[in-house]
Symmetry: C2
Subunit: 654 residues, 2 copies
């Protein structure tokens, strides 16, 4: 097959690809990740590029307008290279890797030092319990450790075998209390040589679990610490924390986009792609593994440590991400009766999994509760400590799905409501993730009816992120621009100049083209608004369903903990205003950021916390919302702003 | 590099090899294994071949005589290919693979059915306890098992994850009593698909150990049994038993020579070779692995089963064989203070080790006691049941080393006396292994002074095997041909025609050239006799040392159990006559054949027996004979026929 050159602007990157390669794949080969919400099916329209020169083969145009087609715009997934071509990538089509540094703020982790979680307990008299206090309570006994040993040299009268000698000393030093210590073949093979080269002064790394120890590395005696990784594999982003297992310190934290996103924005698209061809599963596994391994490699370089110093990893992800990470086809999760391969996951070696840490190091993966309530939620539940409290906690993780856990020390119920990706910017015309250029808040000046906005990074806006969308919805409703059902009030003439009514759709201009970084009006369409109402309705209906099943009212909730990408930026007032969150006092709300990675860190540093996580996976009951009419009744009632039943929202005035 | 053709006669096999390849290696490439006791160093002179055509490069001639050199005889390890060459291999230089079928008799295993071990207990009133009774006492709970499960199909209301569903059912069926069940990643990856393709009727293979279960295979429901292998890795021979894990039946047994023998006859030569170059260890590991895997492959074909039906293996071997099998360099075993890497060996997967059974199946390796008292002896001790009896048992395994265990239910001591390979035919001019052509017994007719002999396989003799050598020694002494020190009685003229006295050495002709299959006189030299006396002296001195250390006399021994290659053929009378074995009534002696593989079978079929084996490894005390003067004193006293102290051998009359 013949090859052609593809040039990508404005990066000015050139790649040679086989003719017949899609521009989406060619971009990937050039190292550019395009937004591809539908997984390259031509349906989402997110991967738009502009052909500046050349004649690629157009296989489909999706929902492109005639005007866009005339401008040379095409869908990169539907356009195949057929001779040299030059393509421009508009900023909004790009998953911009250089913006990942801002993930620190998104994930609420800090570069250096310990992120602190404030958990205010109502019943316990406003105790501020930090993550560190929680760790102290569980006891810091990391899942892997490292000890330095001065071994006695063997002699004719003290002639125990090397492994026996090492075991005996380890038993004494670690106080193993009869738990077995084992050793993998690879370490055993070099044991004799290592001990003697080190003159019997060695550092031994071990995994340390409830049922015993495994020696995973033996090296010449040194005082370098063993490190571990807490890893959150999200559908969209992947975050890795580097933890010093000796001190508990979070040494570094890095995040990036999950490269798997090119096979689809949401888990359903990923499941479908994985099932389409035998090789797809491997591709997707490789994509997420590369994502994680690249993050690790960056962290190693930044901190000047070696991969063999990484003695363990704890991974939290939703059920689909977990299965794909392990190369387990998730296809049956999507087919009735929606069965995952496993909830509880055995601990595998990094070698087995392909994670680039010490090959014999164990990778511990958080158990799931069910197909759509995954290990990330179990990890979050762990860090909220709700399973140890008398008071009732409502824990909500708003991401692509909205997962909800309700309960206390006696019981825990959970559900997943398919909110869709709205709050991460998906399915919204100018939706985007919380990154520089995203409008996160708007202000409507009642005196001059002008709209101002706060933009992340203080740059010209390119789109609207989740918290911005919630704010827009609240302000549009508050100002009577939309009615309770989300329809534009076309008889409200105050904002007539911002209301654009075409044959196809109605939209409201948030930012004028000249104000933006994309030279286009940033608008919210009536369709966007309907999508947002469905998303917020799904989450609220999920909360109400759990409460109803437990025979409880909203006022019985003592704490509401919000996790997720946009958690920290969400305005509670706005959220209550639109009926996304229950109408409870603001002081009952707490933000927790990336609870998934925080729970993973806790488990990594405490065997007891890890045991608790395994217990939580079994203890949390998952309510399948699709069974029975309960959820659907609640959902329909929630498709208004704020709700059909206004008595649920006493603080909402109009 | 240029290549040349090497033709081997009488096989008429042709191989093309690089010039510079030794004839020993070329033969190996042609599939012919030559005897190479010294490991290719040119010192043992065993790998003689005759160059019929061509001019190979002679690097050394060892101890070849001028006459031999003139006949074209050279040492194949010291002769390098340098152009086409034709070589004849004399029968005595060859380890004849086609003779391995006779191993059944050597190893005392039978092709079909259950080998029976008769253990007569004196104190318990002559109870005949078979291996089967022993198995019954331990309880038949094999180290791997297979169950067929009819699983309920998941539904919306019974929506447990696949792995949870399987675990729950296994817990019920296996009555796991809280022990964990785990699953390796490779099996988990195909779990969902397998369950559905099998319509929830599956056969599950599991390893089953004291600390839990591992699912190692899931397949469509069937009633084929799971099999296991009991493997004895000897320095010289390797024996594999195929066991039906469901019924306990020994379905097949096969043995062959350890291909590693080409790197040296005894463990010391192997240790040296392993340490000489970095690649040697891998070569040796591969040699033994290939030996075992070829046996397995033959067994699979003969019995029409698949390697994935082999769910577990138990391996017994001496410490050096075990380390080489696992790719662990045994070099420190030979250097003071003689430390092995390990005595107790973790159980590894077949995948890790490279054994060609089910990749996730576990390979259990018998623990050693010390560098020279290995897993084969622990296995033997297990099958003798001596650790459960009141009476004192003496267990002797006579192979290349003579390992001895003494004790009862309260205590067990052991030692290894370096008897050398005499009794396996090594270091004796016409010594050979117990195979067709080996003289195993001689009769000296006092009337005509003629000597007749029994030859294994009733063919013309080629040499003398261990039991034949013991017999020769006894008969030579009995007939006054040698004195108590092993010197020829040259003044005894009765046998003058058989006594050949050259400048270099004295020898006694056992078989005339015309009677033999090698057209040469088969003789026993004075040096051979001294070697045999040293060997028998070492074993007897070992026995006496253990007894002395325990403050015991020979008469306190109730049972003597003899294991090893020539065990079944050894004449007790002869052995007592020469002072190899203690002078005790014949009825106290029992032969057990290959105790190593029998113990491996028992452990494979009973978790409790395996636990007992692990305990035995810790319980048996090893006495290092080289420490202190005790052994040396005993050894010097034992360098007579039968002994310096004749009161120890009251039944020996002259």
């Amino acid at each position: 097959m013949s090859q052609s050159n593809v040039k990508f602007l404005p990066d000015n990157l050139l790649v040679k690809v086989e003719n017949g390669t899609s521009l989406l794949d060619a971009a990937s080969q050039a190292g550019i990740t395009l937004v591809s919400s539908c997984g390259g099916k031509g349906s989402c329209g997110a991967c738009k590029v502009v052909v500046l020169a050349g004649h690629p083969r157009i296989m489909g145009r999706g929902s492109l307008t005639r005007e866009q087609i005339a401008q040379g715009i095409c869908l990169s997934c539907q356009t195949l290279v057929d001779g040299d071509v030059t393509v421009e990538i508009p900023p909004e089509s790009r998953l911009q890797e250089h913006q990942i540094l801002t993930l620190d703020s998104i994930t609420s982790t800090t570069n250096i030092g310990m992120p602190t979680l404030l958990l205010e307990g109502r019943e316990s008299g406003c105790i501020r319990e930090s993550e560190e206090d929680l760790l102290l309570r569980y006891g810091r006994q990391p899942l892997a450790t490292k000890v330095r040993l001065q071994m006695s040299e063997p002699s004719l009268t003290d002639n125990a075998a090397d492994w026996t000698r090492l075991q005996l000393l380890l038993k004494r030093v670690l106080r193993t209390e009869g738990k077995p210590i084992t050793i993998p073949l690879s370490v055993l093979q070099s044991l004799a040589e290592t001990l003697r080269q080190a003159a019997w002064d060695v550092s031994v790394s071990l995994t340390s679990l409830a049922n015993g120890y495994t020696v995973i590395r033996i090296e010449k005696g040194n005082d370098r610490p063993a490190y571990g990784l807490a890893i959150d594999i999200g559908t969209t982003t992947v975050v890795v924390l580097l933890i010093n297992l000796m001190t508990g310190e979070t040494v570094d934290s890095q995040g990036t986009y999950n490269q798997q996103a090119r096979y689809g924005d949401d888990v359903i698209a990923r499941i479908i792609y994985a099932g389409e061809a035998p090789e797809n599963l491997g591709e997707m596994r490789q994509a997420v593994m590369e994502t994680v391994n690249k993050l690790i490699s960056g962290i190693l370089t930044r901190n000047n440590i070696d991969s063999s110093d990484l003695a363990s990893a704890v991974v939290a992800g939703n059920t689909i991400m977990t299965q794909l990470f392990l190369g387990i086809n998730p296809r049956y999760i999507r087919l009735e009766p929606y069965i995952p391969t496993m909830n509880e996951v055995p601990s595998f070696t990094a070698r087995e999994i392909g994670l680039q840490i010490l090959p014999e190091g164990l990778v511990h993966i958080f158990p799931s509760v069910a197909s759509y309530v995954g290990g990330d939620i179990v990890s979050g539940t762990l860090i909220t400590d709700m399973a140890h409290r008398e008071e009732i906690t409502l824990f909500i993780d708003i991401g692509t799905n909205g997962e909800i856990v309700l309960g206390n020390k006696d019981w825990l119920v959970s559900c997943a409501s398919s909110a869709g990706p709205c709050f991460e910017g998906g399915g919204i015309t100018f939706g985007m993730r919380a990154m520089p250029g995203a409008i996160e808040r708007i202000n409507i000046d009642n005196s001059n009816l002008d709209i101002s906005f706060d933009v992340i990074g203080n740059v010209s806006p390119k789109g609207i992120c989740g918290s911005g969308l919630v704010d827009c919805l609240a302000k549009l409703r508050y100002n009577g621009i939309i009615d309770r059902a989300g329809n534009f009030q076309t008889d409200n003439l105050q904002f007539a100049k911002r209301l654009r009514l075409t044959e196809d759709e109605k939209s409201f201009i948030i930012a004028w083209a000249h104000q933006t970084g994309i030279k286009k009006d940033i608008v919210l369409t009536e369709n966007d608004i309907k999508n947002l109402i469905r998303a917020k309705g799904a989450i609220y209906a999920g909360i109400r369903s759990l409460l109803t099943m437990m025979g409880m009212g909203i006022d019985m909730i003592s704490r509401i903990i919000i996790a997720g990408g946009f958690g920290n930026y969400l305005n509670i007032g706005d959220s209550v205003q639109i009926g996304l969150l229950p109408d409870l006092p603001q002081e009952n709300y707490q933000f927790i950021g990336n609870s998934s990675v925080k729970g993973a860190r806790l488990a990594l540093l405490s065997q007891d916390a890890w045991q608790e996580a395994l217990q939580l996976g079994r203890k949390i009951t998952c309510i399948e919302l699709s069974v029975g009419p309960l959820f659907m009744d609640e959902f329909v009632s929630a498709l208004f702003l704020p709700h059909t039943d206004l008595s649920l929202f006493p603080s909402v005035t109009n």
